[in-house]
């Protein structure tokens, strides 16, 4: 009974993963949307349901949903529930791009602090890309 209602839409999330729990929910849901596992129009669980699934407070899920709504990735219909927006896929990619930019900036700042010059940075980026392949 305790477990049969559990869905695995996303998660699990953990304080050990770094970042606030609500941020982790935002990031996971964005990934689901940008990778198409949650297509436009798909219904999301109510925040109380998701809170139960992820074992977090209702407020944590509410905050995550509010942020996704602000970013235009999901929308709410009073009395009906929460759904993935038509443009959710693109919005999600835009948001991911913004995050990637932010992380690159962070990385370059670290590298600069370590004494790398801008020429070295490009070289570093190529190196990392090669590793990825």
């Amino acid at each position: 009974m305790t477990n049969d209602r559990k869905s695995c839409l996303i998660g699990p999330i953990s304080p050990a993963a770094g970042g606030a729990l609500y941020r982790q929910i935002v990031d996971r849901l964005k990934r689901e949307v940008s990778e198409g596992r949650l297509p436009p129009g798909a219904a999301l669980p109510s925040f109380r349901q998701l809170a139960e699934d992820l074992l977090v407070s209702v407020i944590t899920v509410k905050r995550a949903y509010e942020e996704l709504e602000r970013d235009g990735i999901i929308f709410r219909r009073q009395g009906l529930g929460t759904f993935v927006a038509e443009q959710g896929h693109n919005r999600s990619r835009e948001a991911k791009l913004a995050t990637a930019k932010h992380l690159l900036r962070e990385g370059f700042r670290e590298a600069a602090e370590a004494g790398l010059k801008s020429g070295d940075l490009a070289e570093l980026a190529r190196e990392v890309l090669k590793e990825k392949k």
Binding site: M1, T2, P15, A20, L21, Y22, R48, Q49, A51, E52, L55, V56, S57, V58, I59, T60, R63
Partner: protein, 293 residues
Amino acid sequence: MNNAIEIRGLVKRYPRFQLGPLDLTVPRGAIYGLIGPNGAGKTTAIDMVFGMGRNDAGQIHVLGLDHRADEIALKQHAAYVGSDLNFQVWGKVGRAIRFVRGFYRGWDDACCAALMQAFHLSDSDRIATLSFGARTKLSLLLALARRPEVLILDEPTTGLDAVSKQQVFTELLKAVEDGERTVLISSHGLSDIERFADHVGMIKNGKLLLEGRMDEVVDRFRFVEFFSTNGTEFQNRAGLIILRRTENRWHALLDQKSDAQNWLQTQGAQQISLTRLTLEDLFVALAREEEVA
């Protein structure tokens, strides 16, 4: 009525301790974590709600019901789980359940059966041979199966292992799923409270120190590190609690709602850096210090 529990100006005097004047507001549909050091007055406050001890001043309303004038109605709608787990007189789990069941119109047999399964209890279990954790679960089951609108728990997870704790919180989240039911939980398990509770109130020396939405309360504070270059001796002030110093390096707790950060800059603090903290970090810093707000 948006608040499930409203405590206003509550005072209880003992020879060596005074609770209050205490104001506490628990919104409907919330899981509210009541935290505070040992001896802060959490149990005293909770006991007053259920008429265990008479308050010297102040009002307590639960679902709009006065805790004295409407005592019976209040106890029909609100359930209490404390630390007394002495159910031995009933012998077996099934007998305890049949006994308690009779008192409550809202008793939900299906819910009770589901909880029995979730908590691995059975009618034929002898209460005397149950582990401490299983007895805690039995007391929770007796409260939850009544489907109370308000559930008040005084340190229900103390002494439970990690698996049992998770089972308990799963059931509590389930209990508030419809948005109508409210849980007030006092606990020292701060990482659990931070994860599961929507609202938090911290009391110390009988007074409310902080109250609000969990994310807002935790987000409001930061650890701050800074360096003094001009020999300033920094002291506690509104929004700033000095935690430690080594020569010219200082560590403190900073309330971002105060002007403490600006003040630090005007006092010549250098290289000010802020770090996020957990509810537990916040608790420890505040528990050590008297003056915050």
